[in-house]
């Protein structure tokens, strides 16, 4: 999200209710806009192309394909995004633009290679064991690779701060996806499932292509042959690991339920648990505004307080440093309560709506699983906010531990909760959230108490060697 703070500050420079709405809209566009657009187009295609007429097997094959494509593309790219986002923030701060384009290529190569490695066995299994036709496989592969590249490239697009172009790329891509799918279906060139998948693949490919071209064009002229980013990645590996574990934790409870007897197996390859997955999706959407709220608040007020504190550290007396420290942590605790307060209002309304209206659209099991998961996701997103605060304080170890505890507890909890009654299926995610959030909260308290040591004792005074003895004998008579 490198760069979003500048834009938000521009919006909030003037006070007023319209500015507040503008800020919220802007943050929504940046944080969850693409997700909402893609979800909207897919829903429209499902309805428009009358998917209910398609056989159950075909329909589930498409749904499972889309589920796996989106879920795993997020899982693959999220850790890289955190790492590269940090690199970009550092590069912009240090005005070291030479390494940006090389880092972009490095990232694309990494995620591209990883996506190929992951796709190969799945495609092979779909073809040989599931008997899926080559057109479907080709479209699924294009969609998968494009999704991975898009989710990775978005980090660089955010750095350009050209959100209008980002929106345009997504809208154009989704328009192509919708248009092509409809054309293929309407002119009878292929069936509903193939039309939707081919349309989405074409749309995603277009988005990936335009994003790639835009990033290349934007950073052209600044490029050097510097691959310093590799060193950066080694140094900030905990960020990668923390985000990998956090994202894994988001879905690991689903993976657990994918291995229960209630799972659905599609084309002898894909597995899913329809009710649990749908409940997870609903719970996530119920609380997704937490990320918007957090982005707005953290990138504006907290960022200012943090900046003031760091400036005091650089050149002020200890009295002023202490004063700004108090302001910083007062702001932080205020924000935690503020975000939680607003989000709980939003969650309550949405929860009520889902509980009242959901029974008409979703299965009974989904509705039974949903309440615990809705509460869990509220805490999970709050916990992610804490992880971001820990990143601010350069406490990468704290962030990593939080993610590790969260992921491990979610896994263990879900293994246990999968044996309980349906209403308590979400308890694993809840316990993971509780453990992760509690740890992150106390870790922030630890940071608050030891921030001087964390700031002043972090750097080496001299270089370190491991082999040589002290002193050096330059002459010795035998």
């Amino acid at each position: 999200m490198a760069g979003i703070g500048f834009e938000l500050k521009k919006i909030y420079r003037k006070e007023g209710i319209s500015r507040a709405l503008m800020g919220a809209g802007y943050s929504s566009l940046v944080t969850i806009g693409p997700t909402l657009v893609i979800t909207g187009v897919m829903s429209a295609l499902y309805l428009g192309l009358d998917i209910s007429r398609v056989s159950y097997g075909e329909r589930e094959l498409l749904s499972a394909t889309l589920l796996w494509v989106f879920l795993f593309s997020i899982l693959v790219t999220a850790p890289f995004n955190a790492l590269f986002s940090r690199y970009l923030a550092d590069a912009f701060y240090q005005k070291d633009y030479g390494g940006i384009l090389p880092s972009f290529y490095t990232g694309l190569t990494l995620v591209g290679a990883l996506s190929l490695l992951l796709a190969a066995p799945v495609l092979w299994s779909l073809h040989t064991r599931g008997g899926v036709d080559p057109l479907f496989l080709a479209a699924a592969y294009v969609l998968w690779v494009s999704a991975v590249l898009i989710f990775f490239t978005v980090t660089y697009l955010h750095a350009t701060k050209d959100y209008r172009s980002i929106a345009l790329f997504f809208l154009a891509g989704m328009a192509v996806a919708g248009g092509l799918a409809w054309a293929l279906w309407a002119f009878g060139l292929c069936g509903t499932v193939h039309a939707i998948l081919c349309g989405l693949a074409a749309g995603f490919f277009l988005i990936a292509f335009t994003q790639f071209a835009y990033v290349q064009r934007y950073f052209r002229g600044m490029e050097g042959r510097s691959f310093k980013c590799r060193l950066h990645f080694v140094r900030h590996f905990p960020i990668f690991a923390a985000n990998l574990l956090y994202t894994l934790g988001l879905y690991i409870h689903n993976f657990v339920f994918w291995n229960t007897p209630m799972r659905l197996e599609v084309a002898a390859t894909f597995v899913c648990h329809q009710s649990y997955d749908m409940a997870s999706c609903l719970a996530m959407f119920t609380n997704i505004s937490t990320m918007v709220l957090f982005t707005v608040i953290a990138e504006t007020r907290f960022h200012d307080a943090y900046q003031n504190y760091m400036q005091a550290v650089i050149g002020a007396t200890y009295g002023r440093i202490r004063m700004y420290k108090q302001i910083l942590f007062r702001t932080l605790s205020g924000q935690m309560i503020h975000v939680f307060g607003i989000q709980i209002s939003i969650t309550s309304v949405l929860f009520m709506a889902v509980m009242l209206l959901g029974r008409q659209y979703f299965t009974g099991m989904t509705m039974e699983i949903y309440p615990v998961l809705a509460v869990s996701y509220l805490g999970i997103f709050m916990m992610y906010g804490n992880i971001v605060y820990l990143y601010y304080f350069e406490d990468q170890a704290g962030a990593l531990l939080t993610a590790l505890i969260y992921c491990a507890c979610t896994l263990a909890g879900s293994l246990w909760s999968s044996t309980l009654t349906v209403q308590l299926f979400g308890l694993g995610a809840f316990l993971g959230m509780l453990a992760g959030w509690t740890f992150s909260f106390f870790r922030i308290r630890y940071v608050e108490r030891n921030i001087e040591a964390l700031i002043y004792c972090r750097h080496k005074v001299v270089d370190t060697m491991y082999a040589s003895p002290k002193g050096r004998t330059v002459y010795r008579r035998a």
Binding site: C457, D463, T464, G471, V474
Partner: protein, 449 residues
């Protein structure tokens, strides 16, 4: 007997008075084994030996003021101090009274990581406590890092590997003196400190004039050097000065009078009896400058001053004689400044044609309190005029007191006495081995150019 000589920034890499002194000391006592600890700024710089190493010099070890942290990852991560360690360190860095024994033991007992120590929480806490008590108006981060950089060289010295010897002898105070004090404390062996200059005062002057250190940090640096000076005087079994005025300064600086004694530098004039003199028909007035061509000697100012003098007296010729290779860039600039059509003087390496014996007078860019040995050099073998720069405000021996073979003979005698546990009956007075040369003093005062 094994004597450990401790030298900072001189032998065997830098030619000059102190290095010559060290070399002659070792050569004159072939029956004594020497090991040399030479303190250099940092590792990795290529340094040529400027002296042939005497056969009785068994080992030369470099010790660095700025070195890497040679420790394992775990050692570097955390340093646990006992209460006594903490108090000793706090006393060293911020206190008025220093528990040097505690400090030495702390560094000797543990493989201390400089990073763990200077970037550790204990150092931060003691710095913060001192800061809040005394310097609340100073930016704290600057203060902390100044403290770290200030104590890094001292801690590097303290964590260096001590050498076993029967006798420790430092050629100066300062870091060399601290290293000697540490080894004296650890091994309970005698420690002699020969002060050629006055380290603490020289550093004080440097700090006062320096641009790189500002404001309150000047006081803190000076306080650190004073603590170091006090440590040296406390642990040294004997402290020598080159002349009586110097001895008085040592006493003023806190050295117990009974530890002090004077051993003047001396030159054997017999070596120069046959040196050729200036040709009688030579129309020029030759002025010889005996110095190392380095910025600290301010050779450029001398060349400019000479140029002014040359305008009034065209017969003048300046000969700058000394090593050019210590700071080649500076020497090249001096060459350029003194080149043809400008000042019109010559720069010569030692033993170059047109050497010291042909001069009409000499100038020695030497602080008087250091004994002005090069000045005597000219003075002894030529009855030449001597102009000695008084860089400081201290009375010194520039006007005389050139001893013959003073340092060598007397130090040897002192090693014997000290290792035998005896006390020098002449302590606090002029050494019998280095008699005053009143006549030389009178002659030297006569013609000044």
């Amino acid at each position: 007997m094994r004597v450990c000589l401790i030298i900072e920034g001189a032998y065997p890499y830098v030619q000059g008075g102190m290095s010559n002194w060290v070399q002659q000391l070792m050569l004159s006592m072939p029956d004594v084994d020497f090991v040399v600890q030479t303190i250099a700024a940092r590792r990795g710089e290529h340094r040529d030996l400027k002296y042939p190493i005497p056969p009785n010099c068994r080992e030369i070890e470099e010790i660095y003021l700025q070195d890497d942290d040679y420790v394992g990852r775990r050692t570097q991560r955390r340093l646990r101090m006992t209460g006594r360690d903490y108090l000793a360190l706090e006393g060293l860095v911020f206190g008025a009274q220093v528990d040097w024994d505690g400090v030495f033991r702390f560094f000797d007992r543990r493989n201390v990581s400089l990073n763990a120590l200077l970037a550790g929480e204990d150092f931060l806490n003691m710095t913060l406590a001192y800061y809040e008590k005394n310097y609340v108006r100073v930016p704290f981060t600057d203060f902390l890092w100044s403290m770290r950089s200030m104590y890094l060289p001292l801690f590097s010295i303290l964590k260096s590997r001590p050498m076993r010897a029967d006798f420790y002898h430092s050629a100066s105070g300062g870091y060399a003196g601290v290293l000697g004090s540490m080894q004296r404390s650890l091994y309970q062996k005698p420690f002699l400190m020969s002060e050629h200059g006055f380290y603490t005062r020289e550093r004080e002057e440097e700090i006062i004039k320096a641009d790189w250190v500002q404001g309150v940090y000047k006081d803190l640096w000076i306080a650190q050097f004073r603590k170091i000076g006090a440590c040296c005087y406390r642990y040294a079994s004997r402290v020598t000065a080159l002349y009586e005025g110097g001895r008085q300064i040592q006493i003023e600086s806190g050295c117990p009078a009974e530890k002090t004694l004077v051993i003047p530098n001396g030159i054997n004039p017999a070596r120069f009896q046959s040196a050729p003199q200036k040709a009688p028909d030579d129309p020029f007035i030759h002025v010889g400058a005996l110095l190392r061509v380095t910025p600290i000697k301010d050779v450029k100012t001398m060349i400019r001053a000479y140029a002014l003098a040359k305008e009034r007296c065209p017969r003048l010729k300046l000969w700058i004689m000394g090593p050019l290779d210590e700071t080649p860039d500076y020497a090249a600039e001096c060459m350029e400044l003194a080149g043809p059509g400008r000042a019109g003087c010559g720069l010569y390496r030692p033993r170059a044609p047109g050497g010291p014996h042909r001069q009409d007078g000499y100038t020695a860019a030497q602080q008087p309190e250091r004994g002005a040995a090069p000045g005597y050099f000219g003075r002894v073998f030529g009855q030449k005029a001597l102009y000695c720069h008084r860089c400081g405000q201290l009375p010194g021996p520039a006007g005389g007191r050139a001893g013959r073979l003073g340092s060598r003979g007397h130090c040897g005698a002192h090693y014997g006495r000290s290792t035998n546990g005896g006390r020098d009956g002449q302590a606090g007075r002029r050494s019998r081995a280095a008699p005053a040369h009143g006549r030389d003093r009178e002659q030297a005062r006569a013609p000044v150019l």
